[in-house]
Amino acid sequence: MPGNYIPILVFLVLAFAFPVVALSLAALVRPSAQSGERLTPYECGIQPVSDSRGRYTVRFYIIAMLFVIFDVETVFLYPWAVQYKALKVFGLVEMLVFLAILLVGYVWLYKKGALEWV
């Protein structure tokens, strides 16, 4: 039934037409002042102080690494939570063992000072 697709076609045509019409109308109406000043980048109206592709400090990467590791571990918590009843005590013990291993890693990180912001 191609008839059902007519609204989509209309919508598509409108979607493409709208920016074309709006931009060409704006080009007709607006004053043309392509001075050098207008083309420079700005930060909240102020002259930029540095390149926008600045370097992040390596701390961000380290925090991101730690986040990824501890974040992905939740992948194992979900199936356990869903099957909590069926797995009974075994599941609980298993999860405690898993968390204990994570805790070792966490203590190690903490003691090594990986979580401090220097």
């Binding site: 390596v58 990467y61 380290i62 991101a64 690494m65 730690l66 990824v68 590791i69 974040d71 992905v72 571990e73 992948v75 194992f76 199936p79």
Partner: protein, 101 residues
């Protein structure tokens, strides 16, 4: 309308080949690394597709583990990349050539 399994597999194969191509042809370590992640995601996609068709869960369990392995690889990989960068200020694999035949 259901999408046939072959479509998923073709998509997975295409993603995998893109990952392999990226690994072989890119020169920036981070990009190479992302290509590897793309390969692992292709693997995940095919596991989920098979798991759905076969109506069993072990494929999805495998996906969980692949995800965790990918995260661990990301952490170790980023750590190695940071150390390499600290010592030589470049992430282009062509600059990493202390050891050649």
């Amino acid at each position: 309308m259901t999408v046939p399994i072959s479509w998923y597999l073709i998509l997975s194969a295409v993603l995998f080949v893109m990952g392999v191509a990226g690994f072989l042809f890119k020169r920036n370590i981070i990009t190479i690394f992302m290509s590897i992640e793309l390969m692992l995601n292709a693997v995940n996609l095919s596991f989920v597709a098979f798991s759905y068709v076969l109506r069993q869960l072990s494929g999805q369990v495998f996906v969980f583990f692949v995800m965790v392995v990918a995260a661990a690889e990301a952490a170790v990989g980023l750590a190695i990349i940071i150390v390499v960068f600290r010592n030589r200020e470049s992430l282009n694999v062509d600059d990493i050539e202390l050891m050649k035949f």
